[in-house]
């Protein structure tokens, strides 16, 4: 068991190196000038001075080595565009907010999505099934920027129940954005749980339980639900990664100072170090999330452990 965990852990290092390399190479391909943000030309001398200041005039392999060194000493470099902050600052200030947003969205998804899936499976092909699946899918299918705009309009502007945008302050700010972000994963969970429950409901031990005369609700909860949740657990890790990186639209619309918004802005303004820093960070999160799930799965299901060892 520990061998399994150790081996998986060791694998993350080359994985990370690869990610860093890929991101580095790709960022170098994008043309653009981080030092020119307005249409006014930057005087040549100023441009050169800035490039020297940020080591951009060194050959690419030196820059790469410097960068890798930085990553492993947790120093992701200065921001090329926002001069008063380093990438570490930016991540420290903004990443937790996105994580919060993502986890809250996740909570919505679990709290609503799983019961929806369960109910739909128990009433397969009935009005309940279609209705619930339809409802949950609508949340997923309509583009998030429209959903967010409508939510703000009806709940905040017309209803006056919640503030229109912002994040810090009272809990009220956090409701709408996390709900809007959670709609997609909600539908995903609902469908996942429904599918897996349908499968489990076919199993012999379920029929046995019913034949034995156990009450149906007990059967559902004790036998069916637990086993149906395995796929949901598996799905959580990449979903978490998706939520954290997919927060951009919600962050822009709800004025949330999160890392998603910063990331896209950094790409637009060609702030190379910020882009690389955030990409590396997200990769680390995803890789470790996958690692945790793999380990959990190895614990939960011995078959996979053997197959992968």
């Amino acid at each position: 068991m520990t061998g399994f965990i150790l081996r998986r852990l060791l694998w993350t290092i080359p994985v990370l190196l690869l990610v860093i390399f890929l991101t580095f190479v790709l960022m170098r391909q994008i043309e653009g000038n981080p030092f020119r943000q307005t249409s006014r030309a930057v005087p040549l001398a100023v441009q050169q001075n800035l490039e020297r200041k940020f080591n951009l005039d060194e050959p690419w392999y030196i820059q790469y080595v410097l960068y890798v060194k930085g990553v492993f000493t947790f120093d992701l470099g200065p921001s090329l565009v926002t001069r008063d902050r380093t990438v570490n600052d930016i991540i420290k200030e903004h990443f937790p907010k996105s994580v919060q947003l993502g986890l809250l969205a996740f909570a919505w998804a679990i709290v609503f999505g799983i019961p929806m899936g369960v109910l739909a499976a128990l009433r397969q092909n009935s009005a309940y099934d279609y209705g619930l699946m339809f409802l949950s899918n609508v949340g997923y299918a309509v583009p998030s920027f429209l959903v967010a705009t409508l939510l703000i309009y009806y709940v905040s502007l017309k209803g006056g129940l919640l503030p229109t945008n912002g994040w810090e302050g009272s809990w009220k700010y956090k409701v709408l954005p996390s709900f809007a972000l959670g709609l997609g994963p909600m539908a995903y969970f609902a469908r996942l749980v429904r599918g897996s429950m349908l499968e489990t409901l076919q199993q012999d031990y379920v029929r046995t339980a019913k034949a034995k005369g156990l009450r149906w609700p007990r059967v559902v909860v004790v036998h069916v639900l637990r086993n149906s949740l395995i796929p949901a657990v598996t799905a959580m890790a990449p979903l978490l990664g998706f939520i954290i990186t997919g927060t951009f639209v919600i962050e822009v619309i709800f004025s949330i100072p999160g890392i998603g918004r910063y990331f896209v802005t950094a790409i637009s303004s060609r702030d190379y170090s910020v882009v690389m820093g955030i990409t590396v960070l997200t990769s680390v999160v995803i890789v470790f999330a996958n690692l945790v799930v793999d380990i959990l799965y190895g614990i939960l299901d011995p078959r996979t452990r053997d197959a992968r060892a």
Binding site: E31, G32, N33, F35, Q37, T38, S39, R40, V42, P43, L44, A45, V46, Q48, N49, L50, T82, R83, D84, R85, D89, I90, E93, H94, P96, K97, L103, L104, F106, A107, I110, T149, Y153, S156, L157, G160, T164, N165, G166, W167, E168, W171, K174, R226, L229, I230, V233, M236, V252, I253, F254, S255, P257, R261, Y262, S268, R270, L296, L300, D301
Partner: protein
């Protein structure tokens, strides 16, 4: 070893626990206060800011930053309503030829108690033009002797630094030596890049001196707290030299980047003023509300040609300019009541009536298709398949499509390429690559003299993306820069404008309209909140009426 089911329970439970902990935790807060205020003072302004900001005057390139720093620090001069320079930190000044001497007030203090002296201004100006800071706006100081050389220095720059023509001869006197007499210099020094900074703070904190805990200011307001990328709170600086006349006690600025959300926020009563983000598409709905306020801006929006390689025939350029129905685009797309442009010099520029006069014959507000076709016929080898380059963003796409449609009527087929901003900048150059026939751009004035606009079109100007190069034009610009007397200088400006947009002008661009700033302002502050032509706001004049 727990059973499988128990593990699942454990995982789920711990996840829920994590959620609770994270969800109930607060966020980071810099400085004191921030975020939700206590009992809101009567004189509180809730301001919806359009973008992130940088509180370093040397680096404050965007308008949000400029607006903030101009109220946090004390400039030497300010601009009155008529755009004349009025004393601020400088009580008076003398101009003799290429030498300017500012006489500063005494008794003013920084927020940490240190006295404000002329040395602070000398330090700030030299820093703004230093190669280490490499500020975007360093070119604003190029009129000072030795500034360009210092800015371009690569190493051992201390000597060049000392040679820059700015010196604090004593605590209250700042001597500035310019490269030539520049009658606009005093007004130009009202720009944010000329603001003072506190040397000791910068030495101590380096790049991070603008954080709420460390920043030291000397203006009518100071920073109470700030949350990165989210909000900033300003409070009145009761130590300020003129604090008795400042009514506003508190400013709560919230960053709202999305235009649609900003309007929703305003309508929900969460902010009292929006000055950056009104989406063009919302203006028709908002125009008739009492909160709508429109300010003219000192800027011209235009479409520039690639004159050297592509649209080489001036008759084609004239035809294309004549074919544009500016009023229609303004009425239906941009919808911010801009004035159709009839020259490059914008409305509101001092001397504009003399400089522009009747305006260009090639810029009829509603377009003139017949004349356009005439000129098109005169053109030898006109280029009838062209590519329009524009950056993305709400009205630009539609404007490009409207122009495409208008040029179709004089026989020109255009393809529109909408580029992301940085890609667009790559395409601009200068010089623009062969692929570009015509591109969208604009110029917003840095200071209130037409030279700022007209000198754009010299041969080696970094902001001339057309390839237009006329030695006579350059000579006239140099001559204008050496003419301190206003009327004579305006006469030269008139000639320059004629060379661009006049009846015999080269028309290297199509002037479209003069920009405006549409705002939403709540009635309680509408009277006193004003944006001037250079998009600056003076918060000391703002008062929340009952």
């Amino acid at each position: 070893m727990l059973s499988r089911n128990r593990w699942q329970q454990a995982v789920l439970l711990s996840l829920v626990a994590v959620l609770f902990v994270v969800g109930c935790g607060g966020g980071d807060d810099e400085g004191s206060g921030g975020g939700a205020g206590t009992a809101a003072a009567e004189q509180t302004l809730k301001w919806g800011l359009g973008s992130e900001f940088n509180l370093d005057p040397g680096l404050a390139t965007d308008t949000t930053s400029a607006k903030l720093v101009l109220n946090l620090f004390d400039p030497l001069v300010k601009l009155a309503d008529d755009l004349e320079a009025v004393p601020s930190m400088a009580e008076s000044w003398d101009v003799t030829g290429a030498k300017v001497v500012y006489h500063l007030r005494s008794g003013s203090k920084w927020s940490n108690g240190d006295p404000v002296t002329a040395k602070d201004y000398e330090y700030a100006w030299k820093r703004a033009v230093s190669p280490e800071l490499a500020s975007d706006y360093s070119y604003q100081l190029y009129g000072i002797k030795g500034a360009v050389e210092y800015n371009e220095c690569e190493k051992n720059c201390a000597k060049l630094r000392d040679a820059v023509g700015v010196k604090a001869t004593d605590d209250q006197t700042l001597e500035v030596t310019l490269t030539s007499p520049q009658p606009w210099f005093i007004q130009q020094s009202a720009h944010s890049v000329f603001l003072p900074v506190h040397e000791a703070t910068i030495e101590k904190f380096g790049d991070r001196w603008t954080r709420a805990q460390s920043i030291v200011t000397n203006g009518p307001f100071k920073v109470e707290g700030a949350q990165p990328s989210a909000s900033i709170t300003l409070i009145k600086n009761s130590e300020w030299r003129d604090a008795a006349n400042v009514k506003l006690e508190r400013v709560e600025g919230k960053i709202i980047v999305d235009g649609t959300t900003a309007v929703q926020s305003f309508e929900a009563g969460e902010v009292d003023v929006l000055d950056e983000q009104l989406p063009a598409a919302e203006t028709p709905r908002l125009k008739d509300t009492p909160e709508y306020e429109l300010y003219p801006g000192l800027g011209t929006s235009y479409y520039g040609f690639n004159v050297k390689d592509n649209i080489t025939d001036v008759n084609q350029r004239r035809a294309m300019s004549l074919a544009v129905d500016r009023q229609s685009i303004i009425d239906n797309i941009t919808q911010a009541n801009e004035k159709p442009a009839n020259a490059f010099t914008p409305d509101g520029m001092p001397g504009e009536e003399d400089i522009v006069g009747e305006g260009s014959p090639f810029t009829p507000a509603a377009g003139d298709l017949d004349m356009a076709k005439e000129y098109m016929a005169k053109a030898k080898n006109p280029k009838t398949k062209i590519t329009i380059y524009s950056n993305e963003g709400a009205p630009n796409k539609e404007v490009a499509q409207a122009l495409q449609s208008m040029w179709k009527q004089i026989g020109i087929d255009s393809t529109i390429k909408i580029l992301e901003w940085q890609q667009f900048l790559e395409f601009l150059g200068p010089p623009p690559p062969k692929a570009v026939d015509i591109y969208r751009l604009g110029w917003v004035g840095d200071f209130v003299d037409d030279i700022n606009f007209l000198e754009l079109w010299t041969c080696d100007s970094g902001n001339n993306n057309t390839g237009f190069c006329d030695k006579e034009y350059d000579a006239l610009v140099a001559k204008a820069k050496g003419t301190p007397e206003t009327a004579a200088r305006y006469a030269i400006y008139k000639q320059l404008e004629a060379k661009l947009t006049g009846p015999d002008g080269a028309l290297p661009f199509i002037p479209l309209w003069y920009i405006t700033y549409p705002n939403l302002e709540r009635e309680t502050i509408k009277e006193t909140f004003k944006i001037n032509l250079l998009d600056q706001v003076d918060l000391t004049k703002v008062e929340v009426k009952g």
